[in-house]
């Protein structure tokens, strides 16, 4: 049972990674990250069940709070970038180029 839940978690996580690295749409990338966070949450809750402690639940809560904070900031950034460039393509933003 635990293995099945963890497998689901891995599956979602990997899909999240694929989304992050192969898509160029800012929103899709952002939501893929959220997906990875959720996969992690699922793992936390599963382990909480395995170990019979509720620390995993608390961690999941904290992750959600962080996700909320991240969503707030990230969307602000997206709005800003959209205002500047009028684009949602991650390839437009290459300020880190060496």
């Amino acid at each position: 049972m635990i293995q099945s839940y963890l497998t689901v978690s891995i599956l979602l996580f990997c899909i999240g990674i694929v989304g992050v690295i192969s898509r160029r749409n800012v929103f899709t990338v952002f939501m893929s990250i959220e997906l990875m966070l959720n996969a992690a949450n699922l793992a936390f809750v599963t382990f909480a069940r395995l170990h019979q402690t509720m620390d995993g639940h608390v961690l999941a809560l904290i992750v959600m709070a962080v996700a909320a904070a991240e969503a707030g900031l990230a969307l602000a950034v997206v709005i800003l970038l959209h205002k500047h460039k009028g684009q949602l393509d991650t390839n437009v933003f290459s300020l880190l180029k060496g």
């Binding site: 990674i17 992050v20 690295i21 990338v29 290459s94 880190l96």
Partner: protein, 637 residues
């Protein structure tokens, strides 16, 4: 008799104190109100004169001692002592050094007095006298040193003074260059001296490094080391005493004031090399080969310098080359182990050469710093005292009996003949003729004939008494000094040789009186021939000749200065410049430059990965994670 005395140290110390006092006075006042010149002259004379008095005391004390125990010594303090090396600041007066002592202080004092007149009106007179006093002090340390290292202090000290005095008129670049040349060439010789000392020390120095201990241990030197020591020390002597190949600095050294040329570059400092070889006679006596080399280099220098002297037209240069030539004689003498003959020639030469230089100085002074003999002429009427004294000096130099130079030079030539060095003797006789020729060429051109520059002639006048009195004293010396060592054939008993005998290791060969007569006859003949040619060519109305062929070659001193410049000086500078311009920036800097280049290359290589897309960075990360996973899966089983 007590050997340890306490007054030896004062002999060099007095002039040194004089130098310090003069130096401080000069530095303190030269850019403000200068002090009275006479005051400087007075202070300057105190040191050498007192030293002369002390030197006489030393001489007399030694004379009162039994012949075999004639020495005085003073160990002032331990100078430095490291391991087996133990150097005492000590002074030694034995017959050899006492003889040097007396004439150095005597001639030094006379030249100080003369300089009061000669340097009149020079605003740097204080500096001049300070240097001159410093020189006398250093020379006395050289003479009195009881071990080679103390001797070396004086040795270098006189070199320094020589440098300072040659470049005395330092506003002229050439004068300073001449001073540099003298110091650097002397330093090359000093390297030989230092190395010689080092070899000597490691061979026999552990038993004490003063001359007494060295003399006692000299027998344990191996021939190879002894030869090396002799030759290295002789390199030092060639530097100081202007022998082949290091003679080039002495003619240039005439850039200094004339009293300096007389004192340092004729009478005292340049003879230090001869003194040193005589001092180390206990080693040279063991290695005849070294003596041969010394003698041959000496006589060849004598020949070369005599050739140059015949074609010079600067009065001081003529005398300078003549000095080199006479020094060559002295080395020929000490080379054939006739140390007392060499030292005796040092002694007489000091008188007549100082006399000639001072006479030349008086002429230059009278002619307003004109040194070209072809601008002079007929001066004997205007400057009779100078003429007479210089004539005495010239006769002594040329080897006219019974003047001083005749006896000493003859003694050397006789020794070469007696020891079987016929080649050296033949060259020596030839050089004697040439000496007579160039000396009287100078005398005739300067004093006889018609004035060549009427205006200068009219303004010319006899030098003041302060200059002529030393000339007269020296002339007396040049006349009679020779009798001190009158050989047996003339009824004398060789006072000087006997006096010096305890200090030297020499053997007087017994030869027939016939050989002695040959030697004397040849010398006299050479003198007569030389003076006759000079009289014919230059006595009346000679004009400045134009040289060609060999004469031109000799007039340009065989281009040896140019050769040295081209072979040593210029390449040295070129190497330095090459290093500065190419090797430093491109070769030795290479490690640093390469290190920075390497970082740049690596950086540029990694720059390719910095595309700037966050997604690509994520891909890098994931690829890395993926590879790690692959790796870890291997180990999971």
């Amino acid at each position: 008799m007590e050997h340890n005395v306490t007054f030896l140290g004062y002999i060099p110390l007095l002039p040194l104190i004089g130098a310090a006092v003069l130096g401080f006075l000069h530095i303190g006042t030269c850019n403000r109100k200068p002090l009275n010149e006479k005051l400087y002259g007075l202070i300057a004379c105190v040191g050498p004169v007192l030293a002369f008095v002390l030197a006489l005391r030393v001489f007399l004390t030694l004379k009162g001692m039994p012949e075999e125990a004639r020495y005085l010594s003073q160990k002032a303090f331990t100078w430095f002592q490291v391991g087996e090396l133990d150097i005492t600041m000590g002074f030694l007066a034995d017959p050899l050094s006492s003889l040097m002592l007396v004439f150095v202080t005597l001639i030094g004092s006379l030249i100080h007095i003369y300089s009061i007149g000669y340097m009149e009106g020079d605003k740097n007179i204080g500096k001049f006298f300070a240097y001159l006093n410093l020189f006398v002090g250093s020379m006395l340390i050289l003479v009195l040193g009881d071990n080679p290292v103390v001797m070396f202090v004086g040795w270098e000290g006189v070199g320094l003074c020589s440098y300072l005095l040659i470049s005395f008129y330092s506003e002229e670049t050439n004068n300073v260059l001449a001073g540099n040349k003298a110091f650097i060439v002397n330093r090359i010789g000093d390297l030989g001296f230092v190395l010689g000392m080092a070899f000597l020390f490691w061979a026999i120095g552990a038993g004490g490094f003063d001359f007494f201990s060295l003399k006692a241990n000299a027998h344990s030197l191996t021939p190879g080391i002894a030869l090396a020591v002799c030759l290295l020390l002789f390199v030092g002597a060639t530097g100081k005493s202007a022998q082949i190949p290091l003679y080039v600095w002495l003619p240039d050294a005439m850039a200094g004031p004339t009293p300096v040329s007389a004192l340092i570059h004729a009478a005292t400092m340049v003879t230090a090399g001869v003194y040193m070889v005589a001092r180390f006679s206990f080693i040279y006596a063991h290695v005849p080969v070294a003596g041969e080399i010394v003698a041959w280099i000496g006589i060849l220098t004598a020949l070369l310098a005599a050739i140059f002297a015949m074609f010079q037209d600067d009065i001081k240069k003529i005398l300078a080359y003549s000095t080199v030539s006479q020094l060559g004689y002295m080395f020929a003498g000490v080379g054939v182990a006739a140390y007392s003959a060499g030292i005796f020639h040092v002694f007489t030469h000091a008188f007549f050469k100082a006399l000639l230089f001072l006479g030349a100085g008086a002429i230059i002074y009278a002619m307003h710093h004109e040194q070209n003999i072809w601008k002079m002429g007929g001066l004997k009427n205007k400057m009779p005292k100078t003429y007479i004294t210089m004539l005495i000096g010239a006769l002594a130099l040329a080897g006219c009996p019974p003047f001083a130079g005749f006896f000493s030079k003859d003694e050397i030539l006789f020794s070469t003949l007696a020891t079987g060095h016929y080649g050296i003797w033949a060259i020596g006789v030839l050089v004697a003729g040439m000496t007579a020729f160039y000396t009287f060429r100078m005398i005739f051109v300067v004093f006889h004939g018609e004035p060549r520059d009427q205006e200068a002639y009219d303004h010319c006048h006899e030098a003041p008494a302060v200059m002529t009195v030393p000339l007269i004293i020296l002339a007396v010396g040049a006349l009679f000094a020779g009798f001190l060592n009158l050989p047996a054939i003339f009824g004398g008993n060789q006072l000087v040789s006997h006096w010096l005998a305890p200090s030297l290791v020499e053997h007087h060969p017994h030869v027939s009186i016939f050989i002695e007569i040959i030697a004397i006859g040849a010398s006299v003949a050479a003198f007569v021939v030389g003076i006759r040619i000079a009289y014919k060519r230059f006595a009346v109305g000679a004009e400045e000749p134009q040289f060609s062929g060999f004469c031109k070659f000799a007039y340009h001193k065989f281009y040896i200065d140019e050769l040295y410049d081209g072979v040593f000086v210029q390449p040295y500078k070129k190497i330095g410049n090459a290093i500065r311009k190419t090797i430093e920036p491109s070769v030795t800097d290479a490690p640093v430059t390469l290190a920075s280049k390497l970082y740049m290359v690596i950086g540029t290589a990694f720059k390719v990965f910095q595309v700037g897309y966050v997604r690509v960075y994520a891909i890098y990360m994931i690829v890395g994670l993926s590879l790690m996973s692959l790796l870890l899966s291997q180990s999971l089983n």
